[in-house]
Every structure is written in C-alpha cells, then in structure tokens.
Symmetry: C2
Subunit: 342 residues, 2 copies
DNA sequence: TCGGTTGTGGGTAACGTTTTACACTGAACG
DNA sequence: CGTTCAGTGTAAAACGTTACCCACAACCGA
C-alpha cells in the first residue's frame, strides 16, 4: 500500500525487509520447494507490510506472465459475454488474469491482435470463432498454447470446444416442421473460403439445415448474406420478394433474426401470425419481452469454462494430445414461432 | 516468419544479421537520434528478413509496453462497444495496442483488474464509468496515466470525458412533456455512496430529471432499482401498482427500458398507446425494428476518441494540467413515445 | 566415523530491451 | 595546427524476476 507516487516496491525491497534473499522471496511467491514455515511467515509478512505485487512484465521475461488472452470476433454479439463469464469463473481461483483483445472484424486485425498478445508474453490464448486460415492457426498454436472455440475440425496442436451446430439447426427445422411449416427458409452467412466452409459454425449450421430439411423431405431455400442485423434485413426482403413466400424463417444467428423482424414489421406482417421466425444463440435480448425470440441455446458459460480448463491443461503440458469438446444445444421456444397460418 | 516452434528472434539476432550493434537496432526501432540512412536500411532489411517483432514484456521492464488498458464495467451493455470503437480508431495509427479487462461487477473486481493492468506494465488506462471510490481513483492516477470516462467531477490527476447527463435527462423530460404528459416517472439506479452520488452518470441523470421536472412545474416520481433489465422490470411493476399510474416512464438506460417494456407487455398494456417509454444511451438494440425505443444518444464513438486522445497526451506529458471534455447528447425519437392517451 | 541423504537457504546468470556514456571520425573554424 | 562540433556507432549497465547450482547443517544407517 504505497501512498502516492514513488518507485514500485520490488522483490528486492521485500527481501531486505524480511532479511532474506530474493531467491527466498521468489520461492515463497511461487510456493516452490525449499522453504521453511518460519521463512514463509517472515516473507509473507514483509509482502503484506510493503504491499508488494510481482511485476508481471518482469516475470514475462523469465517465462510466465500469468495472463491469458481472449480474442473476440465481435464484441457486439451478445452471445460472447456468456462464454467470457465461463472463462472468468473457471480462472477465478487461479493466478491467471484474463485480458481481451478488442473485437476484430478482419483476418488482418485478428493477426495483429494475436501477435500483440504473443509479444506481450501471454501464457495462452483462447480464440473465439477466429477467421484466420487453418495453417496460420496451426502455426500460432505452435508458438503459444491455444484453444479454439466454435470452430469445427480437428488439429493436433490446439484443443477445440464446439457446440453441435448440425443438431442445433435440426432442432429448429424439426420444431418448425412439427408446427406444420413446409416452406422453411434459412438465412446464412456467406462463406467462400474452403476450409472455413467446413469449420465455421455458420457454415455448419447451414449444412445442418440442409440435412434436416432433406430428412424431413422438405425443399431447401437458402439465402446468403451476413451474420449482422443488416444481413437479416436484406435476407428477409429477398424472401418477401419471392412469388412463393416461405412461412417460416430460420436465421443463423439472433442478430440476423432481429433484422428479419425489422423487415417484417416494416412490411406490415405479423409474427408468428403471418410468418414464424427463429434465431440461434439465445442471446440476452432474445429473451426480452417485446422480442421473445425462439432460439437455440449453446450453453455459452459451459463453453467458456471448458475452453479455460483445456487451456490450463495445455499450458501445464504442451505435449499433451489435443482434446475436442463438443457440447449439445437445446431449443428455447418463445413467441416468434407458431403453427402454420391457414 | 519463423516456421514452426523455435526460439523467438530477438534484437541480438537482428543485430548479428545486419552486422551492427544491438543499440543500433534499438535506435532504428524507436527512430531515435543517431542513425545514418545506410544503417537504417541495413537494419530494416534484417528485421524484414528475420520477421522480428520487439518483445513487449522486455520493453516493459525498461519503461514502455505500448499497451493501453480499457476497463469496462459491463461488457453486456451495448453502449460500450461504441466507446471502444472510438478508442480503437484513434489508436489505430499509433504503436499502441488496446487490451480490455473482462467486465467487472464490483469494486473489488475493479481493483483487482486495474492492479493486474498496472502489474503488466500498461502505459495508460481508460476507465469507463468506474465504481472505485474517488480517493482510490486519485491514487491510481498517480501510479499510471489515466482517463476516466462517464464519471463527472474534476480531478487534478486524471482527465475526464463525460456526456452532459443533465441536459440528456432534460431532453427526454421535455420531449414527453411536449407530448402532453404530466405524470412522468423515472427509474434510476440506486446510489448511496456520497461521492458517487455526485459523480456517477446515473445519479446525474436522476438529478437532471428532477431539475427538468421542476422547471416544467411537474411533480417528481422516482423509483430506485438498478441499471439492469430486471431493475426495469421491477421498477415498472412498482409503478403499475400505484393507484395513480404515470403515463410515461423515463428509464435511466436502454437496458432498463427493456425491462419496462417486458413488464408492460405482460400487463397487457400497449406502448405508446397506454404508456410512453424512453431509454438512455441509444444502444444498438434501441434501433431494432420490434423495439424502436426513443432514447438519448451519447456519441459513444466521440467519447472514446476523446478519451484515447487525452490519454496519449497524458502519457507524453504526465505533468500536464488535467482536461475535462464534456460532450452533448441528442434526442432520438422512435416509436415508444407518443402523445398523452385520452 | 563415514558417506549419504534431506532440508534450508543464497549466489548468480540469464531473459530482451532501452539508455547512458563514451569513442571515433572528419570537417569546419579560428 | 589545435579546438570544437556534429554525426555515427558501440559497450555495458540497468530493469524485476526466476532457475540452476552450490553450500551448509543436521540427521540417518552402517
């Protein structure tokens, strides 16, 4: 508790104050082998009295900074805070601190920020639905322990945590089909990159939609835009312009569903009277009274918790075989979906 | 571009490769005085060829890490990303990198995270609507350059960026009064701490509400809950239970307004037919079609930009007199407010 | 008594960067 | 022909921490 400005109190100050060596202090800090209870007590007290906190930057120079970096693709997407909470809760009782990168909207941004994190000596990285091409992810993971969240596909160098998007899409399709809908459209996020096409959640959801529709013997109606509100708005307009309109729309993300709802409101259509709408992610605002959006819940908290746990394990042992965790989504029915209009 | 694992390439490697001293490399990196064009060229090329990036942790030990920490009180509040964008845009062309603390919901969390940031050698901190008591903020600002956003009140040690919450509240009150409303209730975030009572935006908004109501000769009707969706829900229930119901509700934040809308929907009341509702912050979802919430826009992007600018100035000169920037809010009228019902 | 072990503690060399101080050149100046 | 001076470069000492290695004492079993 230094009051005011002045130099930082260092391990040397503590050592002098406790009348031991800096080595001793360091050992106590890391509760390493070779410290007697009496010495520990002395050092603890000195630390207390001086209000000493180790300087992470200096520690970094020797290997560990006790910092974990989290990369969010889009801080505006209300699904990510759930993941973050899971990460935080798991890390709460460890010495690790979490720091977030500012949201990055491009591959280039992402590379810049991950590099910045590595340069700052972070002990491990959690990448949430990263855009980086596969080979770069692999290379990254060779440099620093990493866990990739939300992106399907196996790697030997990083662990992954995903939610079963195939099943999730099926949940929605079956729910709508059970309500009697035959013409169910899907608005997806356009994907061109070939590896991303098989790995990104959006692409997998679209594939799940296709499979479920085929299983049900229904005709596929796919619109490609983006996972944004605007994407939903434009997608809905496209659908409304069709000679043969769908009776239900499955938006690939809640934020997309919001755009759809906006477009329907403008067109004077009622939901679910004229058209059913479903989203994906069960974000906080899906539950809001005036919206009350049917959606798929991904258990973000658990996703984050698993990611943190895997990362800690990998930091402890970089050679351990890579693990894939796959969680199951659940359907949350609310008021935007209803029986087929007559 | 090292392919694969292997040691980091350091300034020593660059020096050896360019056949100069490490000092020379360092000078080029920081474009310091005392480098000939020919040497610069040699060094640049070596850096290029080896794919060298300075190790921020090591730099930290010598003073600067080129890292700026941002503390968000609540990552779920959709207003903060706007501020963040402003910060990012201002810092884009500098050598600084932004890192965010995970959202913190208590004073203790906040202290932990700011300490963690200081321990990691951050060059400056931007604190967004921090909860920390004034003396701790002052002490913090003596340790590290800091800018406080959203919190009113002057300090000699840190700069501040605020939006004029008094005026903002008046915008709403006047808008509603102009529509004919006489009984306008306000849902505020309960505040007990005395310094926070004068400094926190929520408290100032409540004060602005009081002033504007008095000016208009209207009676004050204040409900104290929290700035959360639940707070809005509970506040609305309280208001609905009154014998003499208000005809308009001014919620202190958009998220609160969402709770209000939920409660009204449940009670079978129409908006704005039966009751007008207004929020504050003009968050992204206020604009969403099905919600279309009247709100006050705070120009978050500009707020962030100013904060970053001030911080850079303070990092450059820690002794400079502290600056207070105050921005003006604007009213955004949407569909949740309307004329007094008959 | 001896060698070996175990429990404690410290000395010191890194880690990668910046910064201070200084050495060496020529050239310009009187 | 000394003296100053700007320009160009380097050596070496920090910065705060950890990890390796060694020293010392006490105890053990043979």
């Amino acid at each position: 508790m230094d009051s005011g400005t002045g130099r930082r109190v260092t391990i040397v100050d503590v050592a002098r104050h406790a009348k031991v060596s800096t080595t001793a202090v360091s050992k106590v800090l890391r509760n390493a082998y070779g410290t007697s209870p009496s010495m520990r007590a002395k050092v603890q007290q000195a630390i207390e009295e001086l209000g000493y906190r180790p300087y992470a930057a200096a520690r970094g120079l020797r290997g560990k900074t006790y910092t974990i970096g989290v990369l969010l693709p889009d801080i505006r997407n209300p699904f990510f805070p759930d993941i973050l909470d899971g990460i935080k809760d798991t890390l709460r009782d460890t010495d690790y601190q979490v720091l977030l990168g500012p949201s990055c909207d491009s591959e280039k941004d992402e590379a810049t920020i991950t590099n910045a994190m590595i340069d700052r000596g972070m002990d491990g990285l959690i990448l949430i639905a990263p855009l980086l091409p596969r080979p770069l992810l692999e290379r990254l993971a060779k440099t620093v322990p990493a866990v990739v969240v939300g992106r399907h596909g196996h790697s030997d160098h990083y662990d992954t945590v995903t939610d079963d998007d195939i099943t999730g899409a099926a949940l929605i399709v079956n729910h709508l089909a059970d309500l009697g809908h035959r013409h169910i459209a899907h608005i997806e996020h356009r994907e061109t990159d070939p590896t991303r096409l098989s790995e990104m959640p959006n692409a997998v959801r679209a594939e799940g939609y296709r499979q479920a529709m085929r299983t049900r013997g229904l005709e596929i109606d796919l619109v490609s835009t983006t996972y944004t509100q605007e994407g939903g708005y434009l997608g809905a307009q496209q659908l409304l312009a069709r000679p043969h309109r769908p009776t239900a729309v499955f938006a690939g993300a809640d934020i997309v569903a919001m755009g759809v709802l906006t477009a329907l409101t403008e067109a004077g259509l009622s939901v679910p009277g004229d058209m059913s709408v479903a989203g994906y992610d069960n974000t906080t605002f899906a539950a809001l009274g005036p919206i009350s959006l049917t959606s798929v819940d991904q258990a973000g908290h658990e996703i984050g918790g698993n990611a943190a746990r895997l990362l800690l394990a990998r930091i402890a042992d970089r050679k351990r075989p890579s693990t894939q965790v796959k969680l199951s989504p659940t359907l949350v029915v609310r008021r935007t979906t209803g029986p087929l209009p007559l």
